[in-house]
Symmetry: C2
Subunit: 510 residues, 2 copies
Amino acid sequence: MPNHHSEYSQVMRVKPFDIEAKKLVSILSHTDAVELGVFPLDRVELKNLRNGKKIVTVVDVTKTMVKQDELGIFKDVKEKLGVRSGDRIEVKPAAKPDSVGFIKKKLDGETLGEQELFAIVKGIQSNELSEIETSAFVSAVYMHGYTLDETVAMTRAMASGGKKLKLSRGPVLDKHCIGGINGRTTMIVVPIIAAAGYVIPKTSSRSITSAAGTADAMEVVANVCLSLEKIKTITEKIGGVIVWGGALDLAPVDDEIIKIEHTFSMDPVGQVIASVMSKKASVGSEYIVIDLPVGPEVKIQGREIAEELAKKFIKVGDKLGMRVEAILTDGTEPCGSAFGPALEAKYVMEILEGKFFDNLAQKSCELAGALFELVGRTKKGRGFALAKEILDSGKALQKMQEIIKAQGPKCLHSNEIALSKMKKEIRSAVSGEINSINLRECINIARIAGAPADEKAGLFLHVQVEERIKKGQPLFTIFAENKRKLQLAVKYAKKSCVVETRRMVLEKFQ
Amino acid sequence: MPNHHSEYSQVMRVKPFDIEAKKLVSILSHTDAVELGVFPLDRVELKNLRNGKKIVTVVDVTKTMVKQDELGIFKDVKEKLGVRSGDRIEVKPAAKPDSVGFIKKKLDGETLGEQELFAIVKGIQSNELSEIETSAFVSAVYMHGYTLDETVAMTRAMASGGKKLKLSRGPVLDKHCIGGINGRTTMIVVPIIAAAGYVIPKTSSRSITSAAGTADAMEVVANVCLSLEKIKTITEKIGGVIVWGGALDLAPVDDEIIKIEHTFSMDPVGQVIASVMSKKASVGSEYIVIDLPVGPEVKIQGREIAEELAKKFIKVGDKLGMRVEAILTDGTEPCGSAFGPALEAKYVMEILEGKFFDNLAQKSCELAGALFELVGRTKKGRGFALAKEILDSGKALQKMQEIIKAQGPKCLHSNEIALSKMKKEIRSAVSGEINSINLRECINIARIAGAPADEKAGLFLHVQVEERIKKGQPLFTIFAENKRKLQLAVKYAKKSCVVETRRMVLEKFQ
């Protein structure tokens, strides 16, 4: 509804509140709101009569916080208006931003055009939209989904709002895992790819619900908080980086949207793809392998959704000029034996050092191999062998050490990585064959023990699926840096079913 | 996702912020949030270690507002925990309320049961749910709608959270208009019904987007801010009241929901019905007439939606043990000639005084007549005549004066109601027959002139549809209490097409 009062205004004195509201809000008394004809979530334009600065804010109405003729504002608005003591502010009703209307369209099940999605992303990023409005948008996307074109447009919109990495050499390769699983393939794939002469500027996240994110594990061996300029320099020089992407401002709106999705565990397919691809677009990735682990305890629990995601990733990549390969991987059991930043980092360094070759090493070479095939370095079916050759030769380890040194070294070898001395071994109460290992329970125990905040805390598995074990044999060790957390983790581990053994007792009769 | 950290906690010092947040929020530093394993919109339980008081709050994470080991809280939380200077608070992760899961169910298109809707309503009312979560719920309801059973359950849930009016005599009659039109039928229907010996405790709203709500117009002649006790006493004694329902706390959650709906002009049918019926249930109404004006400028713009609403109102009423009649009325032209609190109050008093009988009087007698038929006072088809008889006899006026005196009198006769002396007559630029009068434009002009905040401001029509007029003849008068507002309203009136005349010039050739 158009607001017909826009020529009527009131001059008010400021009552500042010394907090950050993030969103741009004006707090009006009930009386003033009626006088101006505005309601909560309507907009008013504020103009500082001393310096002429203007800003449009969302209206909040209170009966207690401000008196009549007082305008309550928070730090953010105060700064934007350059408010000094005694300033008087002209307040007048303003139209809602167009983005509110576009959100309504999406609520109504209509398809949005590129400009409309750009307007919504801009509205979220500039704090023009309230959390209530952003939540309605995320809910609408969850319920109605995105068309392919909408996904592409949203990817562009989210990338356009952030910073960009522009490398002087290429081709730029990348990988991404739709998470929920342990094991740091990135720390193996990146040095293999870089050792082969390609460019791979990998930005990673910290843990959300796992025992460690790639950024958490990498931080054990190197500094991961690098500026975009530094990332550019290192990548151009040595081919790869593994850094924390969180502070780089690559697609800032994504975080706002993810926060709301997280509340309801909403993962609308189109938004997941836009979220990943916008960050890839921001760093200029051209060849991308997407790892989609499928299993009961990871993010993607069914083949069907995995296949739908895989196909859409490829199509969206295509529209954005990126070559994408999506790989469905086995997410039913742990990938490697480590859970927690230091444990996972140490484990990965041991693989790079050639100490063993397990399912994590296997998967990493598959992913790196897929990239080699995608970029045309090898024929189809030959990528894995090349990746394994680079790993076995020690070149990947050498490249990883170069990367660590360039980022700011902490540890160059697995034996330099310290684990917590406070630990507890959990032994099997029975003999038998291991039927399954519950990934989620391993993660839960590692988290209760303090991971990822306590980097030396976590869990290490001593057994594998299908292994025959004897009663009293160690199943796993819990590491903690704090006695209380160790006790809680052990208590939890004893109650939960981490390792399931079979063929013990089929039935009992009395 | 269950939170497995619930036994781990941290003790923190309080940093209070002197504002009302309405929602129960804890502000944590980024470091502490990681340590506790919580994210924005997760929950933490706070326990004041001095007095043992506990409360569950929503998590907000900041990098600037609080330092590590500091817990930021607002007034509401401070009061609930009885925080004094130096108190230390134990903070530990808590499960999200069940209501969050129920909102997710609704987002997924599932039907909610009565207990689930009760939990959501309780979550909104107790401020347990964040605005983001409430917005997702309202959006889900908008997109998926309610089943009949859900509407009934939501009505009960919203009514149960508020106060109740329990009258010692009955039957209790009521009326409701799904708004957007001028004319105060309530101020005519209530005295007619009460004069006939029935009980009608009418709670009304103030204007939202119109020139005056019933509460605004009634306030010109009487006090409308009455306690529930006072409403009970007056209604039992004289049969009727016309009061402002906004502060009675009858179905408090409704306001929260309406705030979000208003943002996107969302009016999901089921929620509209639950909103109206919960308030009727709270005052114990048994026989209800619902007025559904249909027209291009009012809330209900199509016959189909009106019919759907009508049928659902009746069914929901049935399930709640209320007899409902829904009446589709003509909302294509103004109802009466007045726009604005004082103008509408004066106009209604003149009808009660028998000075004229226009379309507003006609509609009021139809509504009152429908109630007479519904409660069995007259046969079908005889209600209108009885209502008109009571109006014509002066008994309705007499009852209205009793009501005014009981509520706290301001004016007992139309001639005591003062209008603004500052006014401007708008005259016709042409001769012809009046084809239509734009209801929305009349309201817009009245609002720009200051209504409803300035009670003597508004617009008064001098012409009717199908009336033949001459060039220069007065079309309407704008009243204002402030020179600037009068100028703005006149300027707007001259640009807009309030009155459309026809048969003037059919075509011009050159």
